[in-house]
Symmetry: C2
Amino acid sequence: MPKSIYEDIYKDLKQKIENNTFSYQELLPSENSLIQTYGCSRNTLRRAVGLLVNDGYVQTMQGKGVRNIYQPSEQTAFTIGEIETFKESSARNGQNAYTHVALFTELCINKKQAEITGFAENTIVYYIQRIHYLDDKPLIVNHNYFLKEAVPGLTKEIAGESIYEYLEKELHMTIVNSKRIMTVEKVTEIDEKYLQLNTNDYNCVAVVSSQTYNSDGVMFEYTQSRHRPDYFRFYDNAVRK
Amino acid sequence: MPKSIYEDIYKDLKQKIENNTFSYQELLPSENSLIQTYGCSRNTLRRAVGLLVNDGYVQTMQGKGVRNIYQPSEQTAFTIGEIETFKESSARNGQNAYTHVALFTELCINKKQAEITGFAENTIVYYIQRIHYLDDKPLIVNHNYFLKEAVPGLTKEIAGESIYEYLEKELHMTIVNSKRIMTVEKVTEIDEKYLQLNTNDYNCVAVVSSQTYNSDGVMFEYTQSRHRPDYFRFYDNAVRK
DNA sequence: GCCGATTTGTCCGTATGTATC
DNA sequence: CGATACATACGGACAAATCGG
């Protein structure tokens, strides 16, 4: 069931680029010819191409054309860059994922936690500690705070599978956007315990803190993900306005 | 000299949001009323709003309206998230910046360097080592590789000021996009020397590797920025498609 | 639950401007 | 200079989601 035309065109072009239909630095067919092939309007096609620009796949040049600047990223243990779950991301990389739930409890946000998470004081949340394994190697320690009233019926069992799958399929919640901050922090005792880090080797972890909003505009999740530094990569493409 | 209407509207709305014209979680005026106030077409207005969505400033909800979800970020030593120079960024944060050029030389890319940088073997580049200070504190060690033929006339003196200012104002080059990868790496001898790091404290640095393209579609720069972990922050906003 | 008004989302056609070749 | 290609802007039409009566 196709949702929108521009999305279909975007996906089609994206796949063509990934399959090396166009070689690196080659110009794509012009807007007009793509309009012909897809039988759509100019705006619609431009919208699709705009998404590719954001992805860093192509570069548009006024008067010249659209240049393919896609280079397949070298194989890597773990990549981010969009909102995607651990399960999705590991499946995409063809690896074997497993999640261990170390803690599942309710919590009433205190003043200090309110400052960190962005939840109001005295809010009731589920606090979950999870460790994500990839090919039997512990890579990430996750500290999740979910607004209780926004995620009713969440259980430890669900947390062991995929929370987002539950939210989207069962609760029909739509995740819209996620603000993230990347930092580097000293290893804590918890990190050391679960990530099996030798502090003579690395004494830091890569930390991604995120606030996630649903389609009702409520921030329903604060998560701190603490990554093994040697398996952490964060891809990004910046476009100068 | 205003460039485009949608950009002006975007900047105006952005500023209004930053100045708390709308409170957190409040709905902005509807599209129709904004069209009236700006006297523009619907598409133009929607384009401006779309940029705010990408910035994580607002969230659009079909049938409801546009909600302000901007929260001013706590004061921080150094932030990235767009293409901006060290000079711009430090000025924005109201701090005193200084750049020391430790090395300025020409280099012929060998096989190993080709793999790292993405430049072809035997390419001639300028290789520059720079240390960025903020309020007399060394924060970043930069390893720049600039394609020589793309940046003629680059000197050590320019490198001490702002290379990008030179590229844009003197050479009239337009920087278009920049692919970046964030990782965490062990401290090297060079890092230790220049960043005055105590390895008992932190033995890692935050590394941002970037490939930058100009409007001719040439990758003219590869840079590896090695940041003091305690002053490093990377902001990002992901929008689910 | 239905209906109409409001609001955002998608799509189209067209006109004009600007950069490149 | 003209042809080509992307960039901006406008106006209109219909769809989908929301909300209030």
